[in-house]
Symmetry: C2
Subunit: 401 residues, 2 copies
C-alpha cells in the first residue's frame, strides 16, 4: 500500500513530507516551497518569505521593498529588509495591552504620500475610576531606520473594551483613513454597542490623516452618531478593501457561529448587528429572529459555516490573469474546528455578482490573518500562529516545467 | 525536501500514496484503507466496501446483511452479498430515462415490515402529445434472489420534468413513505413549480405504502394542494431523516449557488422557494430580494458557499460515542469547484441547536451522494463517480495502535 516514489513527488514538484503531514495533521508550518493544484491556475507554489513571527497580525509593503509586520501579543513591529526578517524589532511602539486572546498590536497602514509615516491600531491599557481597562487606539509615527519617532496617539475609541475589539485600517488615495472598531459581541454583553450612538465600538470610522473626523462624514450634520462614524451595526470587522471595478468599499465582518459577512459599505448605512443577523450565538441560539429588515443592509457575501473572516483583498496584478478581479478572503478557522484556516477566492461575473468560491491553502490549515497583493503582483499571506510566517503565492507556469 | 519515510507512514497507518494524490489531485478513488485525523475522534479509517459502481445514487441495508445499491445512469439495481458486490445486477427494474445529467434511477427504500419489498424512484420516460417527455415515478417490487417480481408503478408525479427532478425516499415506522420531488429550478424556468398547487414538483409528499395519499395529509381537507403534498416551496430535496431526539423530520435542500439548506419540516408549511430565498442564481443574481418573510419557514441550517447537499443522517450508533446525535450531510461539490465533495458533521447542543461543523473526507474529494449508519454502527458513504464506491468509516481506537 505504501507506494510514494521519489519520481512521483519530483514530477509534481511537491514536498511530499509537507503534504503528507498536511493531510493528516491539523496544521503545518512550511519550511520550504510547496505546490498545490487549484481550479483555474493549475499549480501554485507557496514559499515562506519569513518564519518565526509570533502571532503576526498585519503587514505593509514599503516602496523601497521593506515589509513591516505587526506581532499581536509581543506588541512588536518587525521589518523585512532585502528579503530578510530582521532580528531586531522597530523601537518606539507604544505599550500595548495583550494579556488576553485577541488583544494587542493590530493593523498597520502607511500614508499614501509618505510611506515612512506609519499608522497602527492597538489595544491600549487605560484606567477607569482607578481600575485597569483598555480601549482601541490609533497611533501615528515616523519610521526612521530601526525606530519610530514623533509617536502620537491621534485617536482613541469611546467604549470599554471588556471583550477586546478587533480593528483594521485602510487608507484611500484621498488620504482618508478608514478604521474599524469591533468588540460588539453578544456573548460578552457588548452586542448593543454596535447600535449605540455614543460609542465607536461596532462601527466603521473615517478619519483624516491626523485622526480627526472627516467633515463630510454622514453623521456630522445631524449628530445622530459620533462624527467619526461612517457606518454602524457591525460586530467585528477585520478586512477592508476598495473594489477596483466599482470603487465601492467592501468590508469583512465576523459572525459568531456562522453568518460571517462581506458587506458593501454605504456611508451612514446600518448593517444591523445585533438586531438583524443570520448568525447563531456560539452556544446555539439565533442572535436574532430577524434576518432581513428594511433599513438594514443585507450582506453581499455570507459564510455558513463561519470561516472566521480576516483580511480581504481584490487581486489586480499581472501574475495571475485568471484571478483578475477576484476577492481573496482570509480564514482563521472554519466551523469552529481547529487547524482549518485557509484562503478563499471569490469569483464574480461581469456585473460584479458572485458566481464561485474556491478554498485554497486548506492543506496548511493555519490561521490566515492578512492577505495582500505584493508590488511584484504575487499574493502574500500572513499566518497568525505562535510560529507564524509570511508566505508568497506564485503561479507555476508551463514554461517552468 | 523529499522526506517521506516509510516509518512515518507506517506509524500513521496511512497510505501515503493515496494521501499524496489526495492533497494535489482533485479527487481520488480509494483502493484500500486510508486513515484521517478528525477533531473529536482522533483517527478514522475509511475502507472501500465495493468499488466499480457506476454513478451510484442510493443504498439500503437488508436485515440479512445484503446491501442494495442503485446506479443512476445504467438504471441498474446492484447487490452486495456476504460483503461481495455481485457482478450480475437485479433484473426487473423498469426502464429509466437517463440520457441527461441528473436523470435516471434514484432513491431506494425498504418496507419496514418486510425488507424484501423494495421502493425506488426514477426518471420515467413518457409521451406528451406524442413527444417524448419524462417525469418522476415510484415503483414497488418484491426482491426474490436476483430479480424483482410484482413490479408496480404506484405513483407518478404531476409536472413536466424538463429540468430533471431529484427525488429521495424515507419510510417511517408507521409505514408512511416520504418522497421528495424536486425539479423546481429557476435557471430552467421551472422555479414556480414549487408553489404550484397542481403539481408535485418542488414538494415533499407523504404516501401510504401502496402509493396513495395519506388521509390525514395537511392539504387533503382544503384541497389547496394535491392530496399527496406534505410541505411546499422546495427546490430540490435530496436528503430526509428523522431527528431521533425530537422526532422531527429534517430535510436537505439544494440551493443553486449557495443557500443550501436543511429544514425542519412541518406539515403544510411553505419553505418559500423561489419567493423567499438566501441563494443566488448560478449566473449571479439573487433568486429573490426577500430572504425572510412571515408565512415562510426559515432554514435550520444554511450553507454559503453551497456544498451541493445530498443525503442526511443522524448518527445513533455505539461505534462513535463522540458523534452521537450529530447530523451527517453529504456534499457533492463545494463552491462550484470540481473535486470538492465531502462529508459534513454538524454538532448540536443539548437544546438541539447547532454549535459546530466539521468537514470530513475532503482529501478524497468525490461526489458524496448517500450516507447511512450501518447495522454494525459504522458509517457508510456512497461516492457518485463513474468509478464509484461504497466506503465504510470506522474509528481507530487506542487499543489497536
Amino acid at each position: 500500500m505504501f507506494r510514494v516514489t521519489q519520481a512521483v513527488a519530483v514530477a509534481l514538484s511537491v514536498s511530499a513530507s509537507v503534504l503528507l503531514s498536511a493531510a493528516v495533521v491539523a496544521q503545518t508550518t512550511l519550511t520550504g516551497p510547496v505546490e498545490f493544484h487549484t481550479f483555474e491556475v493549475p499549480t501554485i507554489r507557496v514559499t515562506p518569505v519569513a518564519t518565526g513571527l509570533a502571532n503576526p497580525f498585519a503587514f505593509a509593503f514599503r516602496k523601497n521593498g521593506d515589509i513591516l509586520i505587526t506581532e499581536r501579543y509581543t506588541g512588536k513591529l518587525r521589518i523585512i529588509r532585502e528579503g530578510i526578517l530582521q532580528e531586531a524589532d522597530i523601537s518606539g511602539v507604544p505599550a500595548v495591552y495583550s494579556e488576553v486572546f485577541r488583544a494587542g498590536l493590530m493593523s498597520i497602514a502607511l500614508h499614501p504620500d509618505d510611506d515612512a509615516i506609519v499608522y497602527m491600531t492597538y489595544t491600549k491599557p487605560i484606567a477607569v475610576a482607578g481600575e485597569p481597562e483598555q480601549t482601541v487606539a490609533l497611533v501615528r509615527a515616523r519610521l526612521q531606520e530601526n525606530r519610530l519617532t514623533d509617536v502620537q496617539e491621534i485617536f482613541t475609541a469611546k467604549g470599554l473594551d471588556t471583550a477586546i475589539a478587533g480593528s483594521t485600517l485602510l487608507f484611500t488615495p484621498d488620504k482618508k483613513l478608514f478604521m474599524s472598531v469591533g468588540g460588539a459581541y453578544v456573548f460578552a454583553g457588548t452586542g448593543e454597542f454596535a447600535q449605540d450612538p455614543a460609542l465607536h465600538y461596532g462601527k466603521l470610522l473615517r478619519l483624516n490623516d491626523d485622526g480627526t473626523a472627516v467633515a463630510d462624514n454622514p453623521f456630522v450634520a445631524d449628530g445622530s452618531y459620533l462624527p467619526e462614524v461612517y457606518s454602524v451595526g457591525h460586530r467585528n470587522q477585520l478586512g477592508l478593501a476598495i473594489n477596483p471595478t466599482t470603487g465601492e468599499l467592501w468590508a469583512s465582518e465576523n459572525g459568531p457561529q456562522g453568518g460571517d459577512e462581506v458587506n458593501i459599505i454605504n456611508p451612514g448605512a446600518n448593517y444591523g448587528w445585533p438586531l438583524v443577523s443570520s448568525s447563531r450565538q456560539y452556544r446555539g441560539d439565533w442572535v436574532s429572529s430577524v434576518k432581513q429588515q428594511a433599513g438594514y443592509e443585507d450582506p453581499e457575501l455570507l459564510w455558513w459555516p463561519s470561516i472566521a473572516v480576516s483580511a480581504i483583498m481584490f487581486y489586480g496584478g499581472d501574475q495571475f490573469p485568471e484571478w483578475q478581479g477576484n476577492l481573496f478572503v482570509g480564514s482563521m478557522v472554519m466551523g469552529r474546528i481547529p487547524g482549518t484556516g485557509h484562503l478563499e477566492r471569490v469569483v464574480f461575473n461581469s456585473r460584479g455578482q458572485e458566481i464561485r468560491r474556491e478554498t485554497l491553502l486548506r492543506e496548511i490549515g493555519q490561521r490566515l490573518r492578512d492577505v495582500q497583493q505584493g508590488p511584484d503582483g504575487f499574493i502574500y499571506v500572513l499566518m497568525d500562529e505562535e510560529d507564524g510566517s509570511l508566505l508568497r503565492i506564485e503561479p507555476v507556469r508551463e514554461a517552468e516545467c
